[in-house]
């Protein structure tokens, strides 16, 4: 059993709170991604599990035991660092065998394990080379090999793909997923790249300023973001936000933001009406913004805009519109060609509006 639990863990560096009362359980054999912007505390959380940092409060649990006072080498975890941290004066073989040597594993067994791991990662031909003679991708595989060889209960990966070029990154992502399936161990993967998180994680834990924002599978996090931060961090291009007020229009409750009017369904109206101040932030993802061919005003959620910039992606285009002070980004079909300065009316897919409390940032259901 190799689940990992952060039991109300807090970590401070002087006055800075790096991890704030984190409660998170990583299930046995799960691939969990810790996602967040630089400096949010995700690496610190990882290092707490590794034993490289001690929590100020709370417990770190691996399997069934609390490991707060257990040294890093006795926790049976393996870590892959962002810069790989390979020993530059040792060969690939010696790098991979290092952990086993430290544990006094007999030579023949060591040799076999290293060869097995090397074979799994395609490193057989490189065993005599030094890290300095390898490419970035090869070094990364050696770092992985060093971790695999010890058969740890938990794999910790600190942004291992950040130093690879784009194409290699995509390829390595797929290989890591396959590797995880093959090895069947718990993996905690830290990244700031939300695309990596969405494609790799069984679940994603989003962290911001040391606090857990939301944890769930990619679909859930994408379709039901728990607060403004998650909504703005996940998804590219980012979600559009409209600061709006509740108004009554033609007997129907609407959220009005500048020139945009968002008619509310019954449930939505009830939830929003319960808010003090009658203000809400409406969030709409770029793919849920549509071109309105018929320039009509109606009960639909509509918005008058001017075309600002058009970025062609080939199969689609990302268009930035301006409506007064607000900027709206939409993902539109590449078919219709738009010119800068063109005036249009946009329609918003009502089924995909998200509402957030402007004070707390929390989602309103």
């Amino acid at each position: 059993m190799s689940r990992v639990v952060f039991d109300h863990v807090t970590k401070r560096f002087g006055d800075v709170v790096a991890v704030a009362d984190l409660f998170l359980e990583v299930h046995d054999k799960e691939f969990l991604v810790l996602l967040g912007p630089s400096g949010c505390g995700k690496s610190t959380a990882l290092r707490l599990v590794a034993g490289l940092e001690q929590p100020a409060e709370g417990d770190i649990i691996i399997g069934d035991r609390i490991v707060n006072n257990v040294e890093a080498k006795n926790r049976n975890v393996a870590m892959v660092f962002q810069n790989y941290a390979l020993f530059p004066h040792m060969s690939v073989y010696d790098n991979m065998a290092f952990g086993l040597r430290m544990r006094h594993i007999p030579r023949r067994e060591r040799h076999q394990k290293v060869l097995d791991a090397a074979h799994m990662l395609g490193l057989q031909g490189l065993l005599r080379r030094r890290p300095g003679e390898l490419s970035g991708g090869q070094r990364q595989r050696v770092a992985l090999g060093r971790a695999i060889v010890r058969n740890p209960s938990v794999f910790l990966m600190d942004e291992p793909l950040s130093n690879l070029d784009a194409k290699l990154r995509v390829q390595t992502r797929r290989e890591l997923i396959k590797l995880h399936r093959h090895l069947e161990t718990t993996v905690i993967f830290v990244t700031h790249d939300q695309v990596e998180a969405m494609t790799m994680g069984a679940r994603i834990a989003i962290i911001h300023e040391g606090a857990l924002q939301q944890v769930g599978d990619p679909q859930e996090v994408y379709q039901h973001p728990a607060n403004l931060f998650v909504a703005s961090f996940i998804g590219s291009p980012a979600m559009n936000f409209f600061h709006s007020e509740l108004r009554l229009h033609d007997g129907q409750l609407m959220a009005q933001s500048g020139g945009a009017r968002f008619p509310l369904g019954e449930e939505q109206a009830r939830a929003l009406a319960a808010l003090e101040g009658g203000k809400a932030i409406v969030g709409v993802r770029p793919e849920h913004i549509l071109l309105d061919w018929e320039a009509e005003e109606g009960p639909e959620a509509g918005l008058d805009v001017v075309v600002d910039t058009v970025e062609s992606m080939g199969h689609e285009q990302h268009v930035t519109f301006s409506a007064g002070d607000t900027t709206v980004v939409a993902r539109l079909d590449a078919g219709r060609s738009l010119r800068e300065g063109e005036r249009l009316r946009l329609r918003i897919d009502r089924a995909h509006m998200h509402f957030f409390d402007p004070d707390s940032g929390q989602r309103i259901e």
Binding site: K73, M79, A85, F98, G99, R150
Partner: protein, 317 residues
Amino acid sequence: MDATDATANQRLPLIAVARRQLQRLRGVNRLGFALIFLIPSLVIFGAFVFYPLLKAVYLGFYETDNFGNQGDFVGLDQYRTVLTSESFRHSLWITFLFALYTVPPGILLGLALALLANQKLPGISIFRLMFSSTVATSVAVASLMWLTLLNPNVGLLTYFLVEAGLPRLDLLNDPDWALPAVSATTVWMSLGLAFIVILAGLQTIPDELYESARVEGASGWRLFWHVTLPMLSPTLFFVSVVGTIFAFQSFGQIHILTRGGPLDATEVIVYSIWEDAFGKGTPAYGVASVQAVALFVLVLGLTVFQIRFLERRVFYQ
């Protein structure tokens, strides 16, 4: 050159024009061009390094009369006489002992202090300041300090010995202890620089390597052996080579503390050279020059030896 060339030249910046003209020069001409820039260095090195070296070799071939004038040409005889003399063999032995007493302890002590001062503890910068402070003392000042420290009547050493109920020691006048005492002074003097260089080397070792080793199961001594030492090897090699060269060139502290005595117990080669050339009433430039040339060959040989045998174990990144 046609009209297009001319107009192109007008538009190009000066550096491009210079480069073009340089490329038009043939090999030898380029060398001449380069020499013009090298002349200042060549003049200085020539006057203060190459000429004295060649002159010393030359002087070794000539006897010197009692007034210091150049005497008869004796060829290699003087070389043979001096280099096989009892006195020279003694100096050679003392010099080797001196190097042995100063270089390894200097490196080990510098390493130990640097390891201690490399920790992230509050107030550690005070210790770093203290340990590196000897780099600011001159040979003369340091020697005078130790002369006083070791003085049997007023020195600090005597104070501690008396407090402990032990007899006084006059180390600098004891033929058995003079060399170790002078060596201690030398180690103290050179500690500052060794400490700074080794500490700098330690700080270039990435933390991630230590962390990675810790997660892999290493701790304490094994971290030092598998991470610190290999990554520090270029620095230690440097300190060893340079330290050896400096040890063989030591003069100041010997002159102030013991003047080569007592009973020639601290008569290193450099001191013997000085004595023969300037210290005695009758200057013996020929004899001194022979020893100087011998010292040069010795240090060169030791350096080559270190490069050939020690550098193999050094790991460069």
